[in-house]
Symmetry: C2
Subunit: 207 residues, 2 copies
DNA sequence: GGCCAAACGGGACTCTCGTTCCATTAATTC
DNA sequence: GAATTAATGGAACGAGAGTCCCGTTTGGCC
């Protein structure tokens, strides 16, 4: 059953409603760190936030929506890519920023939760895709600039190259569940760069 | 609460127990295709399999275990890598075999379910990791053979190269949820190969 | 074929999750 | 600051998932 909820776009911003939202999202993240996504109960979130469970159900409805709202909140706080330095530094910076996010206790737990929510909830999946589309587009500009400076072959597909940097990291995180450290991150950046320099990213229609 | 269940290693193989297991796993896969992992109910699986729900709870306990058992069953039916042809054909074959699995209606739904189960269940995660560890090791032998024939630089890390081929596919499947087709698969293989030829896979301690 | 152990099946039971109702509190408007 | 509207909170309710009990069926073994 679909429930009309405003989430971010509240009718009366600033005031009790905003306080409730902040408290609930905070409590959600705390619970994710301690119990993970499958252990996330609306009851416990409400109790932890000092809020009635009716309110949580009314405004979010499901655990997946709770996590989705938390992600969009955190997404607005992330830093933009740098526009200085060579492309090798930029790709390394990209890999390391992913690394920093997934290895941070709070962010990492949230990350895992969002991916878990996306695997069984279409709305969460859409939000996750939108987040990465924007993030990839931002970093792709850095690639375009590098192409303009002659650091990479003409026609190099920026979004594809950025995806190629983070793909190995997420593959380890989600599929094989191997630990991800600086060595893995830097190698991912180096390998993508090597393929790009060899012209392997030329001619792909961007997404 | 932990429940002792045998799953694959049944005390009395062949007979009623085996029939029940086959029927339940079949029903599980059918339900996954129709409803996905989050819509998987033990009741419905039991009913569909023509089996008492008590039996399903007794032997599997949770939906995650059901899916895990299904995966280990399917894992034993998968084809080994070819040992003929050049490394470029082999990597392409690897990417296309992943593609075939995730795009097959039944296998694809099961795949998604296993990953979903792994994100919120440690046992499923362990089974998934074990599956990929074995799969990667099998294909890494093909890489080693290519190194022996001089097709790739000495010291190329086989497991890492194989991971690099499938990583972009799973990244799309799980994280960005973009469609995965032959073009994407072949590009993934080509890019990994380009990086390998450039020596970007030399010197990584294998996993 | 008869005995025993193990697995299965049905039904009742409990408990958790999610919903509904309504009184209360806070924010906006005049 | 009084009226109005929207959001909150508590409590009771109902549905569904998971558990338990015990009688029945099946397969192994002599």
């Amino acid at each position: 059953m679909e429930r009309e909820s405003r989430l971010a776009g509240t009718v009366r911003p600033g005031g009790r409603t905003a306080k409730v939202r902040a408290a609930v999202l905070q409590a959600t993240q705390d619970e994710l760190v301690e119990r993970g996504f499958d252990g996330l109960g609306m009851d416990q979130v409400a109790a932890r936030a000092g809020v009635g469970k009716t309110t949580v159900y009314r405004r979010w409805g499901t655990a997946a929506r709770l996590v989705t709202d938390l992600m969009t909140e955190l997404a607005e706080q992330s830093a933009p890519p740098p526009d200085t330095g060579g492309i090798d530094d930029a790709l390394r910076a990209n890999a390391l920023s992913v690394l920093g996010a997934v290895n941070d206790p709070r962010l990492g737990a949230t990350f895992q939760a969002v991916i878990a929510a996306a695997t069984c909830n279409e709305e969460a999946a859409t939000a996750l895709r939108a987040f990465y589309t924007r993030r990839i587009a931002e970093w792709a500009e850095v690639v375009d600039a590098a192409v303009g400076r002659g650091e990479l072959p003409e026609g190099t597909d920026g979004p594809e190259l950025i995806r190629a940097v983070s793909a190995p990291l997420y593959y380890r995180l989600v599929v094989t569940r191997e630990p991800v450290d600086e060595v893995v991150a830097e190698r991912a950046a180096a390998r993508a760069l090597a393929a790009a320099r060899a012209g392997a990213f030329i001619g792909a229609p961007g997404g």
